[in-house]
């Protein structure tokens, strides 16, 4: 059974949006008696920026955790690249090409920026433990190759200056950027961002939006993001899913969603500019 593949389209700014990469079908997730997600279906197309929005407790983060494998839904199917996904561990899903960042920043605080981003390359490193012990030959070559890729990402995110700094000592905005770098380093098929702009000031938010758009534009990375800041979401995303109390109440382009009466009632409220 094939997923409903939409025709590739070209956006106004010239990016190519391809077929469906990931499809959630009738996902229901419960914690004991609490239903966090109620029968939600949506898809994510290749090359697009897809946003999931909703008020606090709407189940957005739970949805991301389902995609990323931290949570296993009681009902529904997850389709990735045309195949139904069986029960998998989060690290296996990461190896399939789904990378993510976290709302509360989950970096390896004791390690340098460079080492943190290098961990993102782990899934592309194949040398066995004995090969690493010998070091010369395979392991060394592999390390150098991956290091080059990481240096490119460091340049891209403009964090050359903090390359050697332990990330625990960095300011919040920079930590968020390092975390994005780590996710990016794995060359993901799908990049999940959990509130990338949370807790940032206006300037940092603008920087982060620019990086997200650049990642999408230059690497063609498919991005699914959760965000609280409505203005930002509407500016940078191609399509938006709106959730409220665990259910989907809207889905479409930012303009469509903005006009949707149900969405306005639930979330935007009257008088939102």
């Amino acid at each position: 059974m094939s997923a409903a593949i939409a025709e590739p389209t070209i956006t106004e700014d010239g990016r190519r949006i391809g077929g469906v990469v990931m499809e959630m079908r009738n996902i229901t997730l419960r914690f004991g008696g609490v239903t966090a997600i109620k029968d939600i279906s949506f898809d994510i197309r290749e090359g697009e920026v897809r946003a999931i929005i909703g008020p606090n407790g709407a189940g957005k983060s739970s949805m991301l955790n389902v995609i990323n494998g931290f949570y296993h839904p009681q009902e529904g199917e997850v389709w990735f690249r045309g195949e139904k996904r069986g029960p998998m561990k989060p690290y296996q899903i990461a190896r399939q090409g789904i990378a993510r960042t976290f709302q509360n920043i989950a970096l390896f605080k004791g390690m340098s920026t460079l080492d943190n981003i290098m961990t993102g390359r782990l899934i592309h490193m194949k040398t066995g433990i004995l090969g690493q012990a010998v070091w010369k030959g395979g392991a060394e070559r592999e390390e150098i190759g991956n290091r080059e890729r990481v240096e490119k990402i460091i340049d891209f995110l403009e964090i050359q200056k903090i390359r050697k700094a332990p990330v625990g000592s960095l300011p919040y905005g920079l930590q968020k950027r390092v975390e994005l770098g780590r996710a990016l380093a794995s060359d993901p098929q799908l990049l999940l961002l959990d509130e990338p702009m949370a807790g940032m000031n206006v300037e940092e938010k603008e920087d982060m939006s620019r990086f997200i758009l650049d990642v999408n534009d230059e690497f063609g990375t498919t991005i699914a993001l959760i965000e609280h800041d409505m203005g930002v979401v509407m500016d940078i995303s191609d399509r938006v899913v709106v959730m409220d109390y665990g259910a989907k109440i809207g889905d479409g382009t930012p303009d469509e969603v903005r006009r949707d009466q149900k969405v306005i009632d639930a979330y935007l409220g009257v008088g939102h500019d």
Binding site: R100, F102, F108, K109, D115, I123, Q132, A133, E142
Partner: protein, 280 residues
């Protein structure tokens, strides 16, 4: 320099090397603690078990011989062969890796995301289990461990330093075993530091120590890492067990050395600190 000064230096050197012997055990603690936040109470017993296994394999003891004899009425104790030291060490490493896998499967796997205190309690249980299991497997009598490291004062060191202090000074009296232990400990610490700093598995180890969720999200399997950490800790335990076993025989008190090593651990702090070996 007066002879007294050189006697002082001699005492200091001996103190340092005794500290190194303890730091071998402490290293095992630090490894597991750094990589998984677990204080492994069983580290000392692991050293004992490793040493017992090495002696057992080396001298061709039949595992569980007392149990077998008691149940079947037989009187077997020895296979009647001796295994070469090098091969015996390799086999013992194999046993320690197997032990790591079993610990992960039976204990750690079921305690993911638990409080450190709960994991600590689990390692206490593990310690008592392994203590009994080791005795059951290899017998509880004191064994002599001989892997060819000479003991006693090192004549070469003594003679070549005798000129330092004039007539009353006869050179440094240093135990050859302690010298070996020092060299091995330095090599072990250096290679572990290199491994954790520069290889991808080392990076993964540090990542897991820092944040489980984030480690999962970049594709690191926690279970694989735990098996690796416990295997390395098993290997370090083997080294510690061998050195202490060679020094004072393989016996129960070996497992208590681990607890004596705790002050070294507290004083020394991080695994990269060279201060640790001098703390002894």
């Amino acid at each position: 320099m007066p002879a007294e000064f050189w006697y002082g230096v001699e005492v200091m050197l001996n103190g340092l090397m005794a500290g190194v012997m303890y730091s071998l055990v402490a290293l095992g603690f630090v490894l597991i603690f750094k990589a998984s936040g677990i204080f492994n109470y069983a580290q000392g017993v692991m050293a004992l078990f490793a040493a017992q296994t090495l002696v057992g394999i080396q001298t061709g003891l039949v595992p569980f011989s007392h149990l077998i004899n008691a149940m079947l009425g037989t009187k077997i104790h020895h296979f009647g062969w001796n295994v070469p030291t090098f091969l015996a060490i390799l086999l013992t490493i194999g046993v320690m890796v197997l032990f790591a896998i079993i610990v992960e499967k039976l204990v750690l796997k079921h305690l993911v995301n638990q409080e450190p205190i709960i994991l600590f309690m689990a390692t206490i249980g593990l310690a008592y289990f392994l203590e009994g299991f080791g005795d059951l497997m290899w017998g509880s009598e004191i064994k002599k461990l001989d892997i060819g490291i000479p003991q006693g004062g090192n004549v070469w060191v003594e003679e070549s330093t005798a000129f330092l202090g004039g007539e009353d000074f006869y050179g440094f009296y240093l135990d050859t075993l302690d010298i070996y232990a020092t060299v091995i400990a330095i090599a072990l610490v250096a290679s572990l530091v290199l491994f954790s700093q520069y290889t991808k598995t080392g990076r993964a180890l540090r990542a897991v120590a820092d944040d489980h969720q984030a480690a999962l999200s970049v594709g690191i399997s926690l279970r694989t890492i735990w098996v690796i950490v416990w295997s390395i800790a098993g290997f370090v335990a083997l080294v510690a067990g061998v050195m202490w076993g060679a020094k004072s025989g393989v016996q129960f008190s070996l497992s208590l050395i681990a607890l004596k090593a705790l002050p070294v651990l507290m004083l020394g702090g991080s695994p990269r600190s060279p201060a640790r070996s001098s703390a002894g």
